[in-house]
């Protein structure tokens, strides 16, 4: 007689993970609800601020109302993410020999993957679903929704993964909090110390400062390599943590994490796109240094220049640059040689050319030709104070690698400067919500600006100008404090990413009282054209210094 024997089968890894995730969500239901509730509160608040908040709040014109509040909510969300991560991780530590799960038929890797899945559900899927609803309501294309989701994942990973690691090491919530504060404060101290000593020893503190604290803490390599790379590094880091549950050797996991961090840091970033040949040739042939200046000895002694390091003013010339093109120059390791003296510093200079103002001028009904003169720019780079004293009034040779980033500016549209007017181009849109005098003759336009997230490197941005169809008065803009219309954004950035892609902004219009009733907003697009590297060797430059009390600039 054949007997049918029922063979009980333990759950598969996938089924086990699903069970564990359901258990985690039930076990920590209040924390899960808190996370989701915060996310919903943020979405509700920002939509209220964008569409329902009055332009005047209290006695102030509303302006960027919602921006600071949402930033605060983002901080709260970050804190909640980190704490929820710590609580969930420390509830079932991988090497806790009192842990309930470790004597149950639960695979360590399964538990780690369940934790990871729970984090993805709470910190990626839930926010992405809410964000997707908002993006679709704003008319965002599908690829923007996808980009925002990936960005949310990278953003969540940037805090969840380190918090996970720290939670394992510290084992209790109190020690986690103390450890977290210690890491944040310690890294600040370490960075500032590194800045100081880099400056003292090599005069290259500027290079480190340019990277910034955020750059140092960018363990995902987002700033240099972009979103996909950051997502890959995040997945690899999560893999290391999952693997840790299997072998439970802290030294091994730490070594793997350090290796990942070093690779992410040392891997060279993508090369800048080369500038068009004609422009590259122009830059190579005509970029020149006109003069160098130093602050006076009195300025250095009296405080302004005494602060370490001393700025060397450099006068660059780039004649013949087209009217719609501007150039930003970064001097890599500029070196001044005079006799036995060698001074080295780093510096970024901005900007040569008419830039946005040129494009705006050409958009006016009666375009006004831009001057050919302002192809000169005077900014500086820092050198050590002892070198500055030695170089004063001497003739030096300047050697540097100049990296010239070129931008083309184009007028892309005009909208009336009145409430309700809107403009959209590609993934960006602008809507005027209100236009009020604040302190005449200064007016403030309140605009809602939307930029749908993208995974591409930011290559274009908008600059706004105010003008008048009657061309009275003709408003021209240049860089500097007298800019009549404040730029909405003045550099390519990753402002739009993840949850953040719409905001309410002030646009200050100085001298607006002189504009007629048909005032317009001119939208000028700046687009990166690529970069040129030019070695500079300029002998016979005299380092001039003004007399005591005079300004270096």
């Amino acid at each position: 007689m054949n007997a049918i024997v029922a063979i009980a089968v333990p759950p598969t890894m996938a089924a086990g993970i699903v069970r564990l995730v359901r258990f985690e969500l039930w076990r920590f239901r209040w924390l899960a609800l808190l996370s989701v509730a915060l996310e919903i509160a943020r979405a509700v608040f920002i939509e209220w601020a964008m569409h329902l908040a009055p332009p005047v709040i209290g006695e102030q014109f509303g302006g960027a109302f919602g921006t600071n509040e949402v930033a605060l909510l983002d901080e709260v969300l970050w804190l909640a993410t980190v704490l929820v991560t710590a609580v969930l991780v420390q509830a079932d530590l991988p090497s806790d020999d009192h842990a309930f799960w470790r004597t149950r038929p639960i695979a360590p890797v399964g538990l780690a993957l369940a934790k990871l899945t729970t984090f993805v559900l709470l910190f990626v899927v839930a926010p992405a679903a809410i964000n997707m609803g908002r993006l679709v309501a704003y008319g965002a294309p599908l690829h923007a929704v996808g980009a925002a989701t990936l960005q949310l994942a990278v953003g969540a990973g940037s805090s969840v993964v380190p918090a996970w690691g720290l939670a394992i090491v510290t084992r209790t919530l109190l020690r986690f909090a103390i450890g977290g504060v210690a890491v944040l404060v310690g890294s600040q101290f370490a960075f500032r110390a590194a800045l100081y000593w880099a400056e003292v020893w090599s005069g290259r503190g500027g290079s480190l400062a340019a990277v910034g604290m955020r750059g140092v803490l960018d363990w995902q390599g987002l700033g240099v390599h972009g979103w996909w790379f950051a997502a890959g590094v995040t997945a690899a880091a999560a893999g290391i943590l999952t693997w840790h549950y299997e072998h439970r050797r802290t030294a091994r996991s730490t070594a793997a994490a350090a290796a990942l961090f070093v690779v992410s840091w040392l891997l060279p970033g993508p090369r800048d796109v080369s500038a068009p040949p004609a422009l590259a040739r122009l830059v190579a042939e005509r970029l020149d240094v006109a003069s160098l200046t130093l602050p006076s000895a009195r300025q250095i002694a009296s405080g302004q220049g005494a602060s370490f390091p001393v700025p060397v003013g450099i006068h660059l010339e780039l004649p013949g640059l087209p009217g719609d093109v501007s150039a930003a120059v970064t001097l890599r390791h500029p070196t001044l040689r005079a006799g036995g003296i060698v001074a080295v510093g780093d510096g970024s200079l901005c900007c040569l050319g008419n830039g946005e103002a040129g494009a705006f001028a050409s958009a006016l009904p009666r375009p006004r030709p831009t001057d050919d003169r302002p192809q000169i720019h005077r900014q500086g780079f820092p050198i050590a104070a002892k070198d500055a004293d030695a170089l004063r009034e001497r003739t030096v040779t300047l050697e540097a690698d100049a990296e010239v980033a070129l931008r083309r500016h184009r007028w892309i549209g005009t909208i009336p400067l009145r409430p309700g007017a809107a403009f959209r181009s590609g993934s960006q849109s602008l809507e005027v919500l209100a236009y009020e005098p604040t302190l005449e003759p200064t007016y403030v336009a309140l605009v809602r600006y939307t930029e749908f997230p993208t995974l591409a490197r930011p290559e274009s941005w908008w600059v706004l100008f105010a003008g008048d169809l009657a061309n009275t008065p003709s408003v021209l803009s240049n860089w500097g404090p007298s800019t009549p219309a404040t730029a909405l954004t003045n550099r390519p950035s990753r402002w739009a990413s993840g949850r953040r892609w719409v905001g309410r902004f002030h646009v200050v219009v100085e001298g607006a009282a002189q504009l007629g009733p048909k005032a317009q907003i001119y939208v000028v697009e700046a687009r990166a054209l690529g970069a040129v590297r030019v070695p500079i060797t300029r002998p016979g430059l005299r380092v001039s210094a003004p007399g005591n009390g005079a300004s270096a600039r």
Binding site: R19, R102, T103, P105
Partner: protein, 305 residues
Amino acid sequence: MDYAIETEALTCRYGRKCAVDQLTMHVPVGSIYALLGPNGAGKTTTLKTLMNLRPPAIGTARVLGVDSRSLGPADLARIGYVSENQRIPSNLTIGEVEAFCRPWYPTWDAALATELRDRFGLDPRARIKALSRGTRLKVQCLLALAPRPRLLILDEPFSGLDPVVRDDLTTGVLSLADRDGWSVLLTSHEMDDVERLADHVGFLNDGRLVVEEPMAALLGRFRRVEVALADGAAVPAQRPSSWLGFAVEGRAVRYVESQAGPAAEAAWHAAFPGATIEASRMSLREVFVALTRSTAPAAVPGRSR
């Protein structure tokens, strides 16, 4: 497979301290094996190593034929583990914990779980954090027994429990182990319960296994010997190593014979000619005390137990 558990030169360290030293032990299949020893002897460390909660420094341990370091979910599904140190998620109810555990065990016996819950008087709606220590141990026993494991590992399951709870647990474990032929490894300081439950004993002292044998054999070879010396008789200067805790008070000599039998009896009479000699059986508690005193590293100054 003759042994549910076997270790070979198992050594466990906490930093530089050696908690378990060259432990070679064998738990026969179907036996109830009590691992005894004073506090700090290395019992809990041994059990943790067997459950792969700690890695061994040297040596191997095989549990149900599997290297302890390779114990996977399928192996753990056949092992029930109870330890007062284990933390059950405290914000859940008994019912929720039971519901969580059930799907992981293909052999989970719902009827047995209900029976145990009733026998232990457990309320499924009670939150773990509101339970007393004894009730938490009952919950652990329920979770360990309901899957009908082939091996049960109990780390101090009776410590600090009142007699009624202890009786509930011993009755539950004993009846089920007997009924299903489970192998049981337990550590405990409750010698009466151990004597009632166990059929094999291992004695661990200072990380080393001093004794390992069936309970009956152990109790059979230990005798408390009391000698009333004859007038003028002297205490022998040379004594067999099987005499433990040798003490002289006036004309009375007391010691523990650890190798009782006809040969030992002959040795007593030869050592104390004309003396009145009485030998009595010892309880496990008395054997434990005698073994602990005789194997303690008394030479270490300042060490007390």
